[in-house]
Symmetry: C2
Subunit: 117 residues, 2 copies
DNA sequence: CAATGTCGCTACATATTTTGTAGCAAAGAG
DNA sequence: CTCTTTGCTACAAAATATGTAGCGACATTG
């Protein structure tokens, strides 16, 4: 699978629209998890592997390459880190943590009402 | 693959943290694309399939079920639509369109400078 | 009622992706 | 040199996605 880049035809859209390339990239297994784990910390290959619940090194390396050529993460002397633009993307992902908490409560409420009703 | 739910152990995390369930859910092929295409419009199964570049009906139905049991989308008389909470999630995804445009320009600039330097 | 078309969705074989495990070369510590 | 850690590759097995065919329900036309 080739790395999705804005301006090119990607899985899910042939328009070349940047958002479609991003959706393809982030929609790949573990992409979001890797970015999330890289928030505020530089991690080595093995640390990242461990935090991503033992993702296979094969796939981790594949994703790392994709995220590097798309300039979302970079390799530093200490390990992998988000780039400046990657940090900005993370700022957009962060609020999802709050949404997810609300979502959990919502699902619990629905479950409760379906049991009651 | 079971549907990731907040409060449960999911692919990528055994903590049950809501964000991890969300990352697992959205990280699956086509999830983000389906949600994106459902912005401001109710779509039939086949319309959705067409907009998602011919996604196989098998997988589309699998994703649709996952998104329905997690209450992000719902089936209406007219077709599939985002739920109220699904709309809120979309509001968080929207800004990624702008980010992606900036990202494209950034990548073009990098490419240019690497050619020059 | 019969013929035609659309729609939601299932079946299933094939293709692609992900996992899991093993392990190697390089770098640092003693 | 030995021991340990690290980044990463190999590769077979398992899981997931694709592509195509097509069924039953329903609406339209006549």
């Amino acid at each position: 699978m080739s790395t999705p880049l804005p301006g090119q035809s990607v899985r899910g859209s042939k328009t070349g629209k940047p958002i479609m390339a991003l959706l393809d990239l982030l929609g790949r297994t573990w992409s979001l998890g890797i970015i999330w784990n890289l928030s505020n910390q530089v991690l080595t290959f093995r640390e990242l592997q461990s935090l991503c619940d033992g993702i296979s090194p094969t796939l981790l390396n594949t994703r790392l390459k994709e995220l590097r050529v798309t300039n979302i993460i970079e390799k530093t002397g200490k390990g992998y880190a988000l780039t400046a633009i990657g940090e900005k993307l993370l700022l957009l992902i962060y609020p999802m943590g709050d949404w997810a908490t609300m979502w959990r409560d919502h699902l619990i409420a629905l479950k409760g009402s379906s049991n009651d009703g």
